[in-house]
Structure formats: structure tokens, C-alpha cells
């Protein structure tokens, strides 16, 4: 079993995990109009680029995605107050798209202005850059790398981090994800898929019109439970189990059987029955197909009386590679604080998604065990089972 001893988050809802919890709990949404430079539409984007406490020297060589990862990791490590040597602490960061802003700017300079690309474009763009940045900025010398599985990247990162703890190759791991997707070219590509909502993200709701892009980062510090207890660390929550599956089916269409299997694997890994789960933080993107498929899979696994299922993407937008970590951190906040996160922007129940989505406002509840789901384009799925710390 693994202990979560620190969390950090950076989102347009606010800086820090506490600000994220307060905003989600209040039912606030970060989704708003995007500037014309991004082609308009809506998104959950930072109004002002967040500053980090990391040296300008390092940040000059970082795409925003790496900076976001560093900010969240720094907060999580600050809370965990590790005493392990740096060689025994690593970082696994989930990335869905990567340094797209640098890519976009460099291509614009080259193709649009006949200018040289940024000299540091390559080390800023490389998918592994956020893990390197976290390692360099925070002095972590243990196993460190990026995992990428689209929207499930940072859920996979959490699971991968546990593997390194299980192997004994590290005493603590920073696991999380980051995304900084607001670049004109990428936004146009998303719109070309015709799955972006023009108004807002309404997971599981009647009249939902699709997903809305979000940006940010979240990180968790994970340790073996015995180690965390031995050093008297404040334990925020436990990781009880995890399940991972691949659809081997369709590039973008979710697979009901496969995502259900991920949830079943997570329950089995935790040694729990479906009835033990009191809350599910759903993948819940707000697209017609995802939400209906996920709702059906939840009913397959949990039967006719499933637990409360909400999606916090109505508040945060879809933060892609960061989403699994953002939602795991929110679930930790819910377990630790005794509340059920609401589904923002909910207009009314959709018969295709027959679930209690906790619409509008958070509920007070003592949660013992919760699940967090992350499903990705390409059919790569991950479910985490998290527990309240005694």
C-alpha cells in the first residue's frame, strides 16, 4: 500500500491544491472565452501566465508545460517534507501533447515569418522535458521520466511511480502530469475533430456539447506506507489499487468493456468489492459518446446502485496529460476533507447517463474509498482506487 504525503496543483481555478479544492467544492468553473489569437471559443486557460519560484536561468529553457509541472511538484514536495536523499526520490510526469506552444511559435517563426526557430526549441519540445525540468529544478536524482498515454498519462504516471517504489529503487516519487495546450495550431486541430463544446463543458448533462480544453498541472508525492508512517509524515490519503487496460479497438471511440475492465482490475488490486466504492471521479469529458459509455461501464461494474459519479472537468476543463493527476488530487482532497466534488455546469439528467452526478454543489460526506478514472484516445485506460487515511 502507498501513502500520498504531498499534493500540488496549478490550474486556472487558482494556484495550489487548496485553491483547487475550494473552487471545485464551490462549483466554480474556470471555463471562459479564449482570445481571438487562439481562434476564439472557450477554454480553461490562465489569464496571466503563472510565475514560478524557479530560476529564470532554468525557465528560459522551458516550455510552459515544464514550468507548470515544476510549480505543482514544488508544492507537493513542500508539503511532504521528505527526508530521503535526492538519489532516492524520482519523478514520473504524464504528458499528453507536450511543448506545443514552443512548437507552434517555432513553426510560426519559420513558416510564417521566415525566421529562425527558437534555438532551444528541441529541448523545450522534447516530450521528456517536464520530467527533466522537475528533476533539475527540484534536485531529484532518482528514476525520472515522462509517460505519455494521451488523457490517461498522469494516471499512468501515478501507477508507474508505484512500480519504482515497489522495486525499491526509490523511497519517494513525485507523480503527476502537466499540459499547456493553448496554441493556435493545436486549438485548430482540436476543432477539426468537431468534439469541442462552443459554450462550456457539461459532463453527463442533457444538452452537453463536447469537451473544453484546460491547462495546468498536478503532482502527488507517493511513498511506501510503512516508510511514511515510520518518518511520521502527514498522510493525506492512500493508494489502494490500480487497474490498467487497452481497448485494442478504436482510435477515439471509448470501449465500454475495456474501461469497465480497468475499474474491475483496480478493485481487485485493492482487494475491494464494488460496493466498497463510495465515489467515482469520472473521466467525464462532456462528449456525448464518452459520458454515455462511461456511465454504461460504471453500471456494468457497480450494478443498478452505483456510487456517486461526478466529473470535475466542468470546473477545470480537460487538462489532457494533467487530467489524471488533477483529478486524483481532487479525489485526495475529497477523501481528506470529507466532501463529494460536484459536476459543474450540469443542466439536467441525460437518460443515457443514468447516474447521481452530484450536480452543482459539493456534498458533505465521510468518504472512505473512492475511484478516479482516466481514459485516453487510442484506448489506453487507467483507474485508481484511493482511500482515506485513518
Amino acid at each position: 500500500m502507498y501513502a500520498i504525503t504531498g499534493v500540488g496543483a496549478l490550474s486556472p481555478l487558482g494556484r495550489g491544491a487548496g485553491a483547487l479544492f475550494d473552487a471545485v467544492r464551490a462549483g466554480r468553473s474556470a471555463i471562459g472565452p479564449l482570445p481571438e489569437a487562439l481562434g476564439g471559443g472557450v477554454g480553461a486557460a490562465f489569464v496571466e501566465p503563472p510565475e514560478s519560484g524557479i530560476s529564470k536561468r532554468l525557465t528560459a529553457a522551458m516550455d510552459p508545460i515544464a514550468r507548470y509541472a515544476c510549480i505543482a511538484a514544488e508544492e507537493a514536495l513542500g508539503q511532504a517534507r521528505l527526508d530521503a536523499p535526492p538519489e532516492r526520490v524520482g519523478a514520473v510526469i504524464g504528458v499528453g501533447i507536450g511543448g506545443i506552444r514552443t512548437t507552434d511559435e517555432s513553426y510560426h517563426r519559420l513558416y510564417g515569418q521566415d525566421r529562425k526557430p527558437d534555438a532551444l526549441a528541441i529541448p523545450k519540445i522534447m516530450p521528456s522535458a517536464p520530467a527533466s525540468a522537475v528533476s533539475m529544478a527540484l534536485g531529484l536524482k532518482g528514476p525520472s521520466f515522462v509517460v505519455s498515454s494521451a488523457c490517461a498519462s498522469s494516471a499512468h504516471a501515478v501507477i508507474e511511480a508505484m512500480h519504482w517504489l515497489r522495486l525499491g529503487a526509490a523511497d519517494a516519487m513525485v507523480a503527476g502530469g502537466a499540459e499547456a495546450p493553448f496554441a493556435y495550431g493545436l486549438m485548430m486541430a482540436w476543432r477539426a475533430m468537431h468534439i469541442m463544446a462552443p459554450d462550456t463543458c457539461r459532463p453527463f448533462s442533457i444538452d452537453r456539447k463536447g469537451m473544453v480544453m484546460g491547462e495546468g498541472a498536478a503532482c502527488l508525492v507517493i511513498e511506501r506506507l510503512a516508510d511514511a508512517k515510520a518518518r511520521g509524515a502527514p498522510i493525506l490519503a492512500l493508494i489502494l489499487g490500480a487497474g490498467v487496460t487497452a481497448d485494442a479497438d478504436h482510435l477515439v471511440k471509448p470501449n465500454r468493456e475495456s474501461i469497465g475492465r480497468a475499474m474491475r482490475h483496480a478493485l481487485a488490486d485493492a482487494g475491494l468489492a464494488p460496493g466498497d466504492i463510495q465515489y467515482i471521479n469520472a473521466h467525464g469529458t462532456g462528449t456525448s459518446l464518452n459520458d454515455a459509455t462511461e456511465a454504461a461501464a460504471v453500471r456494468d461494474v457497480f450494478g443498478d446502485a452505483p456510487p456517486v459519479v461526478s466529473s470535475t472537468k466542468g470546473a477545470t476543463g480537460h487538462t489532457m496529460g494533467a487530467a489524471g493527476a488533477v483529478e486524483a488530487v481532487i479525489t485526495v482532497g475529497a477523501l481528506h476533507g470529507g466532501w463529494i466534488p460536484p459536476t459543474a455546469n450540469f443542466l439536467g439528467p441525460d437518460p443515457e447517463c443514468s447516474l447521481d452526478c452530484c450536480p452543482g454543489a459539493a456534498r458533505t460526506a465521510t468518504l472512505e474509498v473512492a475511484m478516479s478514472n482516466s481514459f485516453a484516445f487510442g484506448g489506453l485506460n487507467a483507474s485508481l482506487v484511493l482511500g482515506r487515511s485513518a
Binding site: S55, K56, R57, A60, A61, R115, K116, D118, A119, L120
Partner: protein, 91 residues
């Protein structure tokens, strides 16, 4: 061949770029601290920063500096030499 700016203008332009790139990295340098003889390594700029400086020079003057000519160009004067050679070679 394109008109080549005076060496003094090239030196001033390169110094402006060095100062700007340093400031972006949190290193405070003032133009008056720099001359043709200045070694950028003395101002805590490393090889990665030198590449960025060289790239900005190429971008500003729309030239491609020969890598061999620029190699080891730690001082402003050698950067200006490489830039002048690239300008002279420009059609």
C-alpha cells in the same frame, strides 16, 4: 553583395542581443560592461546560452553563420567576425 553595416554597428547589435539574452536568464549585464574583447563566459553564460545568442544573431541579420567560424566564439569580437563573414557571403 548586400550592404554590410559598420563594425561598430555590428558590435552594438551583438551586445544588445547578449544583454537581452542574459536578462532573460536572470543575469544582469549592462551594455557598457561589454566590448569586443568581452568573453561571454565571464558573465555566467554557458554553451547553451551561446547557441541561443548565435541563433538570435542569425535571426536579427537574416544570415546563417558558419558553424566552424562560430565555434569557440566566446568573445563578442569573434561573434562579430563570424557575423561579418556571413553577411559578406550573403547574396
Amino acid at each position: 553583395m548586400a550592404d554590410i553595416p559598420s563594425r561598430a554597428d555590428l558590435v552594438a547589435g551583438v551586445i544588445d542581443i547578449v544583454v537581452r539574452m542574459a536578462q532573460e536568464r536572470g543575469i544582469e549585464i549592462h551594455p557598457e560592461q561589454l566590448s569586443e574583447a568581452s568573453n561571454v563566459r565571464d558573465f555566467d553564460l554557458d554553451s547553451m546560452d551561446q547557441v541561443a545568442i548565435l541563433n538570435e544573431i542569425e535571426d536579427a541579420w537574416r544570415v546563417t553563420v558558419d558553424d566552424d567560424a562560430a565555434r569557440g566564439g566566446n568573445n563578442i569580437g569573434s561573434l562579430v567576425d563570424a557575423l561579418a563573414a556571413a553577411l559578406a557571403a550573403k547574396p
